[in-house]
């Protein structure tokens, strides 16, 4: 089975800082592999370990995707090769443009199955995988929490808000997996060293036949919301009288 895993490069959200005017500073936020995409990589590896085949990694974006540490980091997790579609016009790509570029790229690479994470840890729109499947006109579904190969088909389990579905689908297909489908493995030194020798192919939009790369959504602003002013009444200590003092405040408030 030929599996392609899509991943995204995102800023470490814990290190994004808020400026005085509410705008965001990314100065101290290192770029990393989006967390939920790691579950997609792991799911792809487990599938291929079970039925044979290959796993290819794919990302699209601006020059940031060329970061050699990140290339190694994704390849160390198991994929045998990596494709990058790099173009400055992808810097502010929305879900539509991202899905359109991925669709063109996976069609060039060839695949039986494309796996995506449940959403990116920066914007978390949970849309790219779904749009990708529809653009490719293949079966597509999200919230996949278990994948079982069955000949030329897959049996999947899907965890929804209040029910679990078992579905059967034919290949080729696109699936978005949940964050709890598996526990990701940390690559060892051997895998990290081997990653540096794996083939990396770099394309631009022209190469995969995309001329128009316009987004359908424009960012107007991104601002931290103003925090509501709070009373900040603090009781120090967990002795009985202190807890009683605290309870008095709460009782008045909840009356």
């Amino acid at each position: 089975m030929k599996v392609i895993v899509c991943y995204k490069i995102v800023p470490e959200e814990a290190n994004i800082e808020i400026n005085q005017d509410g705008s965001l500073s990314f100065a101290n936020a290192e770029w990393k592999l989006s967390q939920y995409d790691l579950n997609a990589v792991e799911a792809a590896m487990q599938l291929v370990e079970a039925v044979g085949g290959s796993v290819t990694a794919l990302t699209v974006g601006d020059q940031k995707i060329e970061n050699s540490k990140l290339k190694k980091s994704i390849l160390a997790r198991g994929p045998e090769d990596l494709y990058l579609v790099k173009d400055e016009r992808l810097k502010r790509a929305d879900t539509h443009l991202t899905a359109a570029v991925l669709a063109a790229a996976v069609a060039y690479i060839g695949f039986d199955l494309v796996l995506c994470g449940e959403g990116s840890s920066d914007f978390y729109a949970q849309q790219v995988g779904i749009q990708l499947g529809e653009l490719l006109q293949v079966p597509v579904i999200n919230a996949v929490s278990k994948i079982t190969p069955a000949g030329d088909r897959l049996i999947i389990e899907r965890t929804l808000e209040d029910e679990i579905e078992t579905l059967e689908l034919s290949l080729p297909a696109v699936l978005a997996v949940t964050a709890d489908i598996n526990v990701t493995r940390l690559p060892g030194m051997k895998e990290i060293l081997a990653a540096g020798k794996k083939p990396v192919t770099e394309w631009d939009l022209h190469k995969i036949g995309i001329r128009h790369a316009g987004p359908r959504v424009e960012e107007v602003s991104t601002l931290a919301p103003e925090q509501v002013a709070r009373k900040k009444i603090l009781v120090e200590g967990d002795s009985e009288p202190k807890i009683a003092e605290f309870l008095d405040y709460i009782r008045k408030e909840l009356k």
Partner: protein, 313 residues
């Protein structure tokens, strides 16, 4: 606020349909609802704010909600509304994404606010970077598609005198269908943090999974819903992902938020910013949460929670 001309709505839950119909009325001059369900639900949509109902009938046993995407696409193609709203759920995100692809646009998910400018431009707000910031986005396509979080719009009180039309719509074959083999209920209780009047949040400070029992007991006593921070749901997996406030863009607005053992990481605090009162218990006096709380108590959760339980707050 100016209004759009034509808004369409679709939901996979009755309560969401009511909210979206009411939201449609706020934002648009004409509201059409696509209804998958009984005739009663179709009629109710009119009372809730729809001017026209496009009724897909009861969902067939062998079909999934997602299998109605092409049917909905046909309606949208014909009527071309400026905005199509769906509730934010896992199934509806598939419908939204597939529609977005069919109409060569992006779907904006988990929308938390809609603004129409003086020039009639629509802007949609959603949380990004794990709840750190609000991103305002402007759809550039002729039809915008958005999924809307629970509680963003308030259902209309009484519309029993409203008039509208109901049109039956036949199902259209849906491209690449998946075969439904089995469906079973999850054994987790449904969680609706957005609608909860009181919420008890628990963080890493609880220390061990066994500690959650007393947290649940306290929440029961306070008639509160239980929420958690990201590490408890994703790192420790002690609680279901539906319960954490952070990356998924949940913004709650309870009357009271009681934070137990939560340090006050910025994404979490954005999610609870709209609570009327924030109360925090933490053993670390320097925890940032105290800066953003109305009342704080510095001490040991394992002494304080039992005391709160005993006090019958």
């Amino acid at each position: 606020m100016r209004r759009l001309k034509n808004i369409w709505v679709f939901a996979d839950k009755a309560s969401s349909l009511a909210e979206l119909c009411a939201g449609g009325r706020q934002l648009g001059e004409n509201v059409a609802a696509v209804v998958l369900g009984g005739e009663e639900t179709a009629r109710q949509a009119i009372e809730q704010g729809a001017d026209q109902v496009y009724w897909l009938g009861l969902k067939a046993e062998d079909k999934m909600l997602e299998d109605y995407t092409r049917t909905i696409a046909g309606l949208l193609e014909k009527h071309r509304p400026e905005l199509f709203l769906l509730n934010a759920g896992r199934r509806t995100k598939v419908v939204a994404g597939r529609l977005a692809a069919l109409f060569a646009t992006s779907a904006i998910t988990d929308a938390m606010q809609f603004v129409i400018g003086e020039n009639g431009d629509l802007q949609i707000a959603r949380l990004v970077y794990g709840g750190l910031a609000i991103r305002l986005e402007k759809p550039l396509s002729a039809m915008a598609i958005a999924t809307v979080g629970n509680g963003v719009f308030k259902a209309a009180a009484d519309g029993s005198n409203r008039q509208g039309t109901v049109t039956e719509v036949p199902w259209v074959e849906d491209g690449c269908r998946l075969k439904l083999l089995e469906r079973r209920a999850r054994d987790t209780e449904p969680v609706d943090l957005a609608a909860a009047a009181r919420v008890v949040g628990v963080g890493r400070g609880i220390g061990k999974e066994e500690g959650l029992a007393m947290v649940y007991a306290l929440a029961r006593q306070l008639k509160a819903e239980v929420a958690c921070t990201r590490p408890l749901a994703e790192g420790e997996k002690w609680m279901s992902p539906e319960r954490y406030i952070g990356v998924s863009g949940t913004m709650i607005k309870p009357d009271m938020y009681l934070a137990l053992g939560i340090s006050g990481q910025i994404q979490h605090m954005t999610g609870v910013n709209k609570a009327r009162v924030i109360i925090a218990v933490n053993k670390d006096i320097n925890a940032p949460i105290f800066e953003q709380s109305d009342y704080g108590l510095v001490g040991d959760l394992y002494k304080i929670i039992p005391a709160l339980l005993k006090s019958r707050l």
